[in-house]
Symmetry: C2
Subunit: 406 residues, 2 copies
């Protein structure tokens, strides 16, 4: 078939639509992408497993392709293992961990519902902010950043406020605290409220038992314990939360995160909802497969063992850790910045000179701590040694530098 | 430093937290990922450009890394070029196109606002559903699936309803119709309402001038004209929409998509909002760079030229196209399924035997049309020839098969 010259076609196109000339103002000629090498030992993302990166770069398939539909089931099944849950509504939201966080509230909060948020760090505050946007009657109890709640404190608040939902953070990324979970699920049943748990910095790295702990709603992220890049937000909802969802009077006030719609796609109906982020799910599937291959017990042991070596090493150097040992997260350690050191300048120095990212403090811990993550693929003895030797060699020089500059 | 044996550590861990045994019920041993080869000629995703896939598979960096912060600005600038806009609030939402769609409404609709949705296909209905979830007073006007609105029809509705927002779809993925845009922006100014436009199937493939057309809010996706896998939702908001956002009485009722927060991260402050999907943005940056390298005029011409070859070829075979030629999208063609053919069985045959995906009909066009996409990297003369030759060789055999089976 003879082809029309393309100029002629475009002129015809322009004639029927009266097209203006193309503005070249924003047409910048950037070179091809070249990314720097980084060892990510901050609060996340952590480095991705090489097999996960390989999966991410595979050519996409359609979101209703039989191959992809099978892969979705594999992701769900492996996510149930990672979270230790039988919940049918277990799936990665097509957004980051914050989207999954919002999904837990958007689906279950009805206007006027009392939501009690137990705040002990930055992400507790975010839960309270989000809940208020869904017109919850938000109540909060607070602890210092670096502490955890006791069962008595929680019970007092449940008695006082009688909330529909208790929302709290298992592993506070801003403080490095791991909330002990014994008995909290039972308390929530006793006071007839749902238990909503942030497991962003615990999934894959810290013992976590959604069903045994009687957690009704949980969310996480892809880029920490799972060693997949950021972009997906694991979400799970148990039968008690499902029941609250099914009793809703009005539609979920968030279309994208509406689990009743999403379940028609992820469940057996396979009804189109949105075009799935297929490549991110390729990566997630590999990340979860690799975790299952290692086994949860071994992964948890590895995280715990490496973290303890880090803690010992830092303490031997006379550096203080922010959290009492029994509450410390193995995935994320908050390290007190020694007197006289510019914490931000030191972390920039590690990034610029050694390609190593460690985090600075957030919120009330800004300027007071560094945050060192040893998560997923990055939780290795070699990385512990690398951090310790850099702290040993660079921090003293840096102190001198700071003093000299002053 | 001597290491403790990890068993000992785990037992210590289990003792302090009374951990139950790990349930292995969902621990399935799936093999490493192996994806099938697909030529994606449906309504999206389309195949990704090889350089985009390479970018996606690069090791991640932190979301506040100076390298990444520069990359964000590059993505924004290239997106402004692709959309032909100077809007400062131009950025990819960290979700798919549907998330960006929701972002346009979530940020601008206040309870009771009148939103007029001009519906001529599946995605118009979605806009109406979403707007109602933000408590808009939703009004709709409708056209048959396969037609477009005239200026008179739109003006009558604007006069009648006096909405705050007119929402409509530029390129209806469900019908293959391209809405002529001449004069609509001026009408919206005349009746003092915002113009919200779905450009999911037009960005990168069809002439599109956000500023010239006086569009106040628009959204798109990564996986069609841009040839990046699905997972990001380009979003843009002009000054009139920004002003409506700034006048809001209450917070945006969607934390994840709140542009006033997102702008603190994407703007000069670089305040942490959520952990960005960095690898998806690596891919997006490459996709937009490749589009700019080709140039919009050439990309539009290429899409138009290849689509016309497809149309001619199908018509020569006596196959009817659903949309009148002057309204046809170059990116997506709706093809009427000939009498007696099981359309779904034929598309499955192409997928299973040839690895080629074409789409079936959605909503009121289910069972009536196929949807053939020639988008981005996939809009090539070779792909047109491939589809035409398969229609020529397989469809007659298939008709026979269907008849035989009957």
């Amino acid at each position: 078939m003879p082809r029309l010259p393309s100029n002629e076609l475009f002129r015809a196109l322009a004639k029927t639509q009266s097209l203006p000339p193309v503005d070249k103002n924003h047409k910048k000629a950037f070179g091809p992408l070249s990314t720097p090498e980084r060892l990510l030992l901050g609060p996340g993302p952590s480095n991705a497993h090489p097999l996960v990166l390989k999966a991410l770069g595979q050519p996409p398939v359609g979101h209703l392709d039989p191959f992809y539909v099978d892969l979705m089931s594999e992701v769900q099944e492996l996510l149930r293992y990672a979270w230790q849950t039988d919940n049918r509504l277990t799936l990665p939201m097509s957004g980051t961990g914050s989207a999954a966080m919002e999904a837990t509230l958007a689906n279950t909060v009805e206007p006027g519902d009392k939501v009690l948020v137990a705040i002990k760090g930055y992400f507790g505050n975010r839960l309270a902010d989000m809940a208020s946007r869904y017109r919850a009657d938000v109540k909060v109890i607070e602890k210092n950043w670096g502490e955890a709640f006791t069962l008595d404190e929680l019970e007092d608040a449940l008695k006082k406020y009688k909330p529909s939902i208790l929302a709290m953070v298992h592993a506070e990324t801003s403080t490095g605290v791991c909330q002990p979970m014994d008995g909290i699920g039972d308390l929530c049943r006793k006071y007839d409220c749902l238990l909503l748990l942030d497991t962003v910095t615990s999934l894959g790295g810290v013992p976590l038992f959604i069903d045994e702990w009687k957690v009704d709603l949980a969310y996480s992220c892809s880029q920490k314990g799972l060693s997949c890049p950021p972009g997906l937000g694991p979400f799970t909802m148990g039968p008690r939360a499902e029941e609250k969802l099914s009793r809703r009077v009005e539609k979920v006030p968030n279309w994208y995160l509406d689990v009743s719609l999403l379940n028609k796609y992820w469940g057996s109906d396979r009804v189109y909802h949105h075009t799935a982020p297929v490549n991110m799910n390729f990566g997630m599937r590999e990340a979860l497969r690799i975790l299952a291959e290692e086994g949860l017990e071994k992964a948890w042991e590895r995280h715990s063992s490496n973290a303890q070596q880090l803690w010992k090493g830092l303490e031997l150097m006379g550096i203080d850790l922010h959290v009492a040992e029994e509450l410390r997260l193995p995935t994320l350690t908050t390290v007190r910045i020694p007197e006289g050191v510019d914490g931000k300048a030191f972390s920039l120095h590690l990034l610029n000179e050694f390609g190593i990212e460690i985090g600075v403090g957030l919120g009330s811990l800004a300027g007071k701590v560094w945050r060192i993550g040893l998560m997923g693929h990055n939780s290795t003895p070699e990385n512990v040694d690398r951090v310790l030797s850099l702290f040993a060699s660079e921090l003293p020089r840096f102190r001198e530098k700071t003093v000299c500059a002053a």
